[in-house]
Amino acid sequence: MQGRKVAIIGVGMTTFGEHWDRGFRDLVVEAGLRAIQDAKLTGEEISAGYVGTMASGALVGQEHAGALIADYMGLNPIPVTRVEGACASGSLALRQGVMAIASGLHDIVVVGGVEKMTDLDTAAVSEILGGAGDQEWELFMGATFPGLYAMMARRHMHEYGTTKEMLSAVSVKNHWNGARNKYAQFQKEITMEDAMTAKMVADPLGLMDCSPITDGAAAVILAPIEKAASYTKKPVEIVASEQASGTLALHSRKSLTSIEAAKIAGAKAYKTAGLTPKDIDVAEVHDCFTIAEIIATEDLGFFKPGESGPAALAGKTRFDAEIAINTSGGLKAAGHPVGATGIKQACEIAWQLRGEGEGTQVKDAKIGLTHNVGGSGATAVVHIYKQGW
């Protein structure tokens, strides 16, 4: 990576779930304070902040999230900037933080992600999330996000023979992991039958193929690697931070069985880090729907096109198998507070590399990856991390 090397020196998050008793600012402040505490900072060292939130304006009526966070985190007058890229907002914020330090402009930076989603009913939230797609040419026509991913799933089934059982295996594995994550929204295992027979949302995707509506926040503290050692024994170095764009509408893409932007961001990240898919020990990928995890693990080169479904069914993506995917429980079981997801992924990888993965700790995890997608794939961000000590 060009410029100064960057490391995560502290991480923190709220539990993910339905937090009726807490608002937008309460969530983000809790996550931020936990990260500051984890990095053993007083707070005065921080010189800039970035926050990812997709739709705070529509969901809770609050725009100007950067200013709110600077104020309530007690960070005034340092600059805090909001970034938005739908469900990839969190990773976009992380990338801004990385660039701010790599460029030499800032030293200690706090990066947060937050979404407060349960103040509205499901129909209203779904409509707002629809804004991640093409409002005039997808949503207007009656498409929904489960509908868009369902069409990706059907095409994947058509081209590669992927089955509903393979999709269900992703959900069962992620719930198994979620059951071992104290921050997860659903800390409960499910059976193949539960997944296979769940109520249909957009065929072939049922309720157990879809990530839920979630409140939550997550934060990380970044520092130049040469200063990281003075705060923590286990800095987690970010060795690649890459982003790519694709068409806003699904129907404008050449293929529905792969997300081109994610493939490009992944390939660039491997190149920047000088690594290959085989080097990755643990990855958090964007499983907003089960099919998205199948496609992600193909786009990232863990499996060949068409082989991710059988691999999931064979248990190759469990925490103790070939490649550990979504040890946090992923978006499916840990929950998907949209703007917070990318930062939660970074927190999980930091814990894994630090050996604090608890019930799903990957043995000897040294290199991790996060893959965060906005909408149906118009924005994709891939980060690669390694032990920095």
């Binding site: 129909a123 209203a124 779904s126 409509e127 629809g130 804004g131 409002q135 005039e136 040419w137 997808e138 949503l139 207007f140 026509m141 009656g142 498409a143 929904t144 489960p146 509908g147 369902a150 069409m151 990706m152 059907r154 095409r155 058509h158 109520k199 249909m200 949302v201 957009a202 065929d203 072939p204 995707l205 509408a249 699904l250 129907h251 404008s252 529905l256």
Partner: protein, 133 residues
């Protein structure tokens, strides 16, 4: 989402007559219209292009949890259609349930009511598709 009358009016040519665009330089067709050809950029020569509405089902699903404005139609089938002239677009397949549709099925365009998001607001019309028998 509630669309304003102005937005509805701006989109009438595309939604009523399937007007997209084509690049004369690289012969690529686009729907909805674009003013820049992503392949040719400044070398591109974009013009208005009217699609016939004929095409094939590229992928499809049945929406069982319909969004606001579509409550009365749910469940309904949506599809990505490979238009005969080259671009793809998304639309509903009318008069069909999930079991009636297969990838590759030929379709033709039809003009229908799309949604009514507000009982006192405008009714939105536009193209949908129908399986060709």
């Amino acid at each position: 989402m509630k669309e304003s009358i102005a937005l509805m009016w701006r989109r009438l040519p595309e939604r009523y007559k399937l007007i997209g665009s084509a690049c004369e330089n690289c012969k690529t067709h686009y729907f909805p219209p674009r003013s820049i050809c992503p392949k040719c950029r400044r070398k591109g020569k974009i013009s208005r292009f009217e699609y016939s509405g004929e095409g094939k089902v590229y992928s499809f699903t049945e929406i069982s949890a319909g969004p606001i404005g579509f409550e009365h139609q749910t469940p309904y089938v949506i599809a990505i259609i490979e238009l005969a002239e080259g671009a793809k677009c998304l639309g509903q397949i009318v008069d069909a349930r999930l079991a009636d549709v297969k990838i590759g099925d030929p379709v033709e365009g039809t003009f229908r009511k799309i949604q009514s998001d507000d009982p006192e607001g405008p009714i939105h019309y536009g193209f949908k598709f129908r399986l060709k028998k």
